[in-house]
């Protein structure tokens, strides 16, 4: 293979950059430097070398060969070029009204005039920074009302904000566990010796250290299917509050499929957040396939998100279109990986509700905590369930 012109190479890196590769000046310098140093024995060696130098994770690694061939040999080009166009089309589709309250309004859309306050920004003095006593008595009535009975837009907006605040207050409490205690359990020899050198090295004053307690990890799986529609908007605020800035939390939405939304919920840039969540517009508010969604979670995400300190929270009414046995199998797998499994079912707050939905009855065997979540008060009552391991 003849020495490739530097400009063609730069073009190739732009080609990669457009497709999400993190290729900056550093990488360009590296690649051009190696090109100047020696020639490649053949094309496949060149491809392997660039692949090693320019890809950053597994998905880039597996996509690289196709992109390489597309650029240098114009092979399969059409297929690759059409992919981003489809994406662009997607982001122009209207998103469900649900997102309006969680996300900032879409630019130029009709929802611009609506309440544009993000739950994350509605930081009051009684919010996360406070003592954890968050609910003023004036809000009591609102707190206890079943969320499906809220009608006036003010109440709805207020309830959403409270849900978000509630979640952030919980996060504050849980993460406070990381602060070191005043009396550590081990002697810090390094600092003890340093400190006592002036006294001839006699360890009079002991310095201690403390390994901070490791925080709980939260994984939230939120059902956004049709049967949950009246509740899911509040739950979404709640989940957003939980995931917020807490590093060790992950959020997933599911109906007939499961989608990871942690990054999207943390996203500050509205247009990017919308693009990320727009995937969920497909099939939103439809049927529920809990077992399939959990299976997807177990296979794809469980390994990286769960460990022995994980609390998994499933928010669903348990109406599943999949066979019951399938759900039991997946819940058992989930239970084995996580420390605690909490199932929040808004229907449990209804009078005379018994978990007769077959899926729900089967699930009870694997659940550590089965609680209601029909009102804000019931969400607030959950705090200790989350914190306990």
């Amino acid at each position: 293979m003849p020495l490739v012109a530097a400009s063609r190479m730069t073009g190739f890196m732009a080609h990669l950059r457009e497709r999400g590769f993190a290729v900056g000046p550093g990488e360009a310098e590296l690649v051009l430097g190696t090109l100047a140093a020696d020639e490649f024995p053949d094309v496949s060696a060149a491809r392997l070398a660039f692949k090693t130098m320019l890809s950053g994770d597994r998905s880039q690694w597996s996509r690289f060969d196709g992109l390489f061939d597309a650029y240098w040999f114009k092979r399969g080009l059409r297929l690759l070029e059409s992919a981003p166009a489809k994406d662009a089309f997607r982001s122009h589709r209207p998103r469900p009204e649900l997102w309006d309250k969680v996300l900032p309004p879409e630019e130029g859309s009709a929802s611009l005039g609506r309440i544009a306050r993000l739950p994350g920004q509605a930081e009051g003095p009684d919010g996360a920074g406070g003592s954890g006593r968050l609910i003023a008595s004036a809000q009591d009535a609102l707190m206890r009302t079943d969320l499906r009975n809220l009608v006036s837009p003010e109440d709805v907006a207020e309830a959403e904000r409270t849900a978000g605040r509630l979640a952030r207050a919980m996060r504050y409490r849980l993460s406070r566990r990381r602060l070191p205690a005043r009396h550590g359990d081990a002697i810090d020899l390094r600092r003890t010796i340093r400190r006592n050198l002036s006294r001839g090295g006699e360890p009079i004053e002991l310095r201690r250290r403390h390994r901070p307690e490791r925080p709980v990890r939260l994984v939230v799986l939120l059902d956004v299917s049709g049967s949950m529609e009246v509740y899911s908007r509040y739950f979404l605020s709640f989940v957003r509050g939980l995931v917020g800035q807490w590093l060790q939390a992950e959020a997933f939405l599911f109906h007939t499929r499961l989608v990871r939304v942690t990054e999207a919920l943390r996203e500050r840039d509205p247009s990017r957040a919308i693009r990320r969540l727009s995937l969920m517009t497909e099939g939103f508010g439809g049927g529920t396939r809990i077992a399939v969604s959990l299976r997807h979670f177990n296979q794809r995400y469980a390994k990286e998100t769960l460990n022995s300190r994980s609390v998994v929270i499933v928010m669903s009414d348990g109406y599943d279109t999949d066979p019951t046995e399938a759900l039991s199998v997946e819940l058992e797998r989930l239970k084995r990986r996580a420390r605690r499994l909490v199932w929040l079912n808004p229907l449990l707050g209804w009078r005379d509700y018994a978990p007769v939905a077959r899926a729900m009855a089967a699930a009870l065997d694997y659940i550590d905590c089965f609680a209601t979540a029909h009102s804000l008060a019931s969400l607030a009552a959950l705090e200790h369930e989350f914190a306990r391991l």
């Binding site: 590296l30 490649f40 060696a45 070398a49 090693t52 130098m53 890809s55 690694w61 090295g201 990286e304």
Partner: protein
């Protein structure tokens, strides 16, 4: 440097490690460009063994840093030998040594305990530094590691800055239990190790167990390859294949079509969770064996 990876591949094979083209090229670049290599892949595909083989090929030391949650700088760079320091303070007090002289003495290299990272940069010949399972360490440590990997120098307040005598060949491995930072990924070359295909796995079996009957080896590889396509929680890696082959030889099994009871019993070498073992009852095993020519 050179892009001809064939010699590297050949040398690794001599050290008993079968590397495919992509991996050999990755190692070639790591050695040539002095850049760390980030290796990802399922457990049991030979990430750790690769570092050992590379050290053998380059005839240099392998220094290993096993990461775990809560790993901190003290455990990875250096620590003073406090017990000896305390004893020395006592001993020198009796000699009426002035205190600043004592201080100079007990903070000398003699009392320094070198941990893997400091050890790796103070070798006369470039060692292979294996940072195993980096995804298990905390994010804070990852940031710290980045700094060391870019400067290759370490500052000890009492001794001053120690610059590297030789640059180590760094290999980081990850099982993907946590997402690594983009900064770390950008510092490193990247390679993904997948489960080997038929040919490669057969070559590995021959390299590691030269006495194994060729026909049995082929059957073993076919069976394991099919097993990986089943719906398992933990797919068997190369280490498991080697264990199983060893077990079959130990049980005096000449052919996979032979003693079904022995085969079934030996599956514990391949399947490491209760659910996986349950999902492979005799009938399923028999069905898979039936497909093995």
């Amino acid at each position: 440097m050179t892009f001809d990876y064939k010699p590297m591949q050949h040398d690794l094979a001599k050290a008993g490690y079968i590397a495919d083209d992509a991996l050999a090229m990755a190692l070639c670049l790591t050695v040539g460009l002095r850049r760390p290599l980030l290796l990802e892949g399922e457990a049991g595909v030979g990430k750790t063994d690769l570092a050992k083989a590379l050290a053998a090929t380059l005839e240099t030391r392998l220094i290993r840093l096993q990461c775990y949650e809560g790993l901190d700088a003290n455990a990875t760079i250096y620590e003073w030998n406090y017990q000896r320091q305390l004893l020395a303070i006592r001993a020198h007090e009796r000699d009426a040594m002035p205190s600043n002289a004592i201080e100079r003495h007990i903070f000398s290299e003699e009392y320094l305990l070198r941990r893997p990272l400091l050890e790796a940069i103070s070798q006369p010949q470039s060692p292979v530094l294996l940072i195993d399972e980096i995804d298990r360490a905390d994010q804070e440590f990852e940031a710290y590691l980045l700094e060391i990997l870019s400067d290759f120098q370490i500052t000890i307040p009492e001794l001053g800055t120690i610059a590297a005598r030789s640059l180590p060949h760094v290999i980081l491995t990850s099982n993907g239990t946590r997402a690594l930072s983009d900064a770390l990924r950008r510092r490193c070359l990247y390679s993904y190790l997948d489960f080997p295909d038929d040919t490669k796995e057969l070559a590995i079996l021959h390299a590691r167990l030269p006495d194994l009957d060729r026909r049995l080896a082929r059957q073993i590889v076919r069976f394991v390859q099919m097993l990986r396509r089943e719906d398992l929680e933990k797919k068997p890696g190369i280490a498991e294949t080697l264990d199983w082959a060893g077990a079959l030889v130990g049980l005096d099994v000449r052919s996979i079509h032979g003693d079904p009871a022995a085969i079934q019993a030996s599956l514990i070498c391949l399947l490491k969770t209760e659910a996986d073992l349950k999902s492979m009852p005799r009938e399923v095993t028999a069905r898979l064996i039936g497909k093995v020519a």
